[in-house]
């Protein structure tokens, strides 16, 4: 049971792909200007991770070591193409906004890194689970950054959720600041860099606090 707990903890906090491993930064920074873009790409990445991890795990015994990287890349590219076509079919408006970065999931280093480091050594179930939680950890950071930039940039939260959940989702939009003029910097590229820097710093603060608490709780015999 503890193996599964480790997988979950690694994906969401300890080895979070976005804030600790600093992998997959390009999509993270590029599509985090609003929550809906962030959520859309996050879910797409998560699906690709699960599919590619499961596939790599299934074929891991038949692939020779020398050619494993090209094989993994092709598996990932196929998974991405499937997701991209599905997205074109069902979420076309959202696809128009984040389209290029859906194709670029192929070169998202998180995916090849998980295929190489985890899926090629573990069974199908564990690999899919790892893909799911790594994807979830990535999505959570993406959405937090999206929320931060949307809130400060436009003064709203969850605008245009109809792109993802259909016409009935307009009510989800929350206008936090009335008559807000907007703060352009956070929507433009610099805001993404600075925003992610602040988020990682915040995580470091929390980690340091936790560490201090643990060392305070221990008896002072061992240093």
């Amino acid at each position: 049971m503890s193996a599964y707990k480790d997988i979950i903890n690694n994906g969401l906090w300890k080895n979070n792909p976005a804030t600790v491993q600093l992998l997959g930064l390009c999509p993270l920074l590029a599509v985090s200007s609003t929550v809906v873009n962030a959520l859309g790409l996050g879910i797409a990445t998560m699906l690709v991770l699960v599919v590619s991890n499961a596939t790599v795990s299934l074929i891991r015994k038949y692939v020779r070591d020398e050619i494993r990287i090209p094989v993994f890349v092709v598996v990932i590219a196929v998974a991405v193409t499937i997701i991209k076509i599905l997205m074109q079919a069902f979420f076309y408006d959202l696809y128009l906004i984040i389209g290029l970065f859906v194709a670029l999931i192929t070169t998202n280093c998180v995916i090849i890194a998980r295929a190489e480091a985890f899926a090629s050594k573990n069974n199908v179930f564990q690999s899919s689970l790892d893909g799911f939680f790594m994807g979830l950890g990535f999505t959570v950071v993406l959405v937090i950054l999206g929320a931060f930039r949307e809130l400060i940039g436009f003064g709203t939260l969850f605008q245009q959720m109809n792109l993802l959940f259909g016409e009935g989702a307009h009510w989800l939009q929350i206008t936090v600041f009335e008559n807000y003029d907007g703060f352009l910097l956070t929507i433009l590229p610099p805001g993404a860099f600075i925003g992610l820097g602040l988020i990682i710093a915040l995580k470091n603060v929390i980690d340091n606090r936790l560490k201090q608490k643990v060392s305070d709780g221990l008896p002072q015999t061992a240093t």
């Binding site: 390009c26 590219a77 670029l104 433009l188």
Partner: protein, 190 residues
């Protein structure tokens, strides 16, 4: 003249790293030292130019005539992997000196999204052959330029007294943010 504008725009205004968010992994990952940054920049520049030309040809003469555009992603990533592998072999055989500088960075380029991104952007914007080549080359020059600038800043950051929670990645990201602000100044010029 038109080509000169395109080159200038891709290097400064639409800089791959700072305004298009492509190639960030190597940008953050191998920019701690100036020498490694230059090595990575040169290796990427070569692969980027070559692969944007090849992917243009593949799209024009294979994918479009057979209406296989949906295989773009798979085709381009395979082409890039081939270019990277071929470059590595050629450099290894012909110039041991160059190989010792660029060798370890070459395999990393396959997963550099700038390379695939430029190939896809070329198709998306309907660039012709010369435009595609220039787009790849300009993007590569811009990438190398920013990489070298950032590496020099980071070497200095090593010596700076940064608050504990901001050490490492956070301060680097915020620095990159300010560089991006500076590069936005070029937007008015095009």
């Amino acid at each position: 003249m038109e080509y000169l504008v395109l080159l200038f725009t891709t290097i400064f205004v639409n800089n791959l790293v700072l305004s298009r968010f492509l190639g960030l992994c190597p940008f953050m990952g191998v920019s701690k030292k100036l020498e490694t940054a230059i090595g990575m920049g040169l290796a990427t520049a070569f692969v980027l130019t070559l692969s944007s030309i090849l992917s243009f040809l593949a799209n024009e003469f294979i994918l479009q005539p057979f209406e296989l555009e949906y295989l773009k992603t798979v085709t381009f990533i395979l082409l890039i992997a081939v270019v990277v592998q071929a470059t590595e072999m050629v450099v290894h055989k012909t110039s041991p000196l160059l190989y010792s500088v660029l060798g370890i960075y070459l395999p990393l380029i396959t997963t550099n999204c700038a390379v695939l991104g430029v190939a896809l952007l070329n198709v998306q914007e309907g660039n012709d052959f010369i435009q595609s080549a220039l787009y790849g080359f300009g993007g590569a020059v811009g990438f190398t330029l920013v990489m070298v600038l950032f590496a020099t800043i980071r070497e200095r950051l090593e010596l700076a007294d940064v608050p504990i929670s901001f050490q490492g990645a956070p301060i680097a990201l915020i620095t990159a943010g300010f560089m991006s602000v500076a590069f936005m100044g070029f937007a008015g010029m095009a």
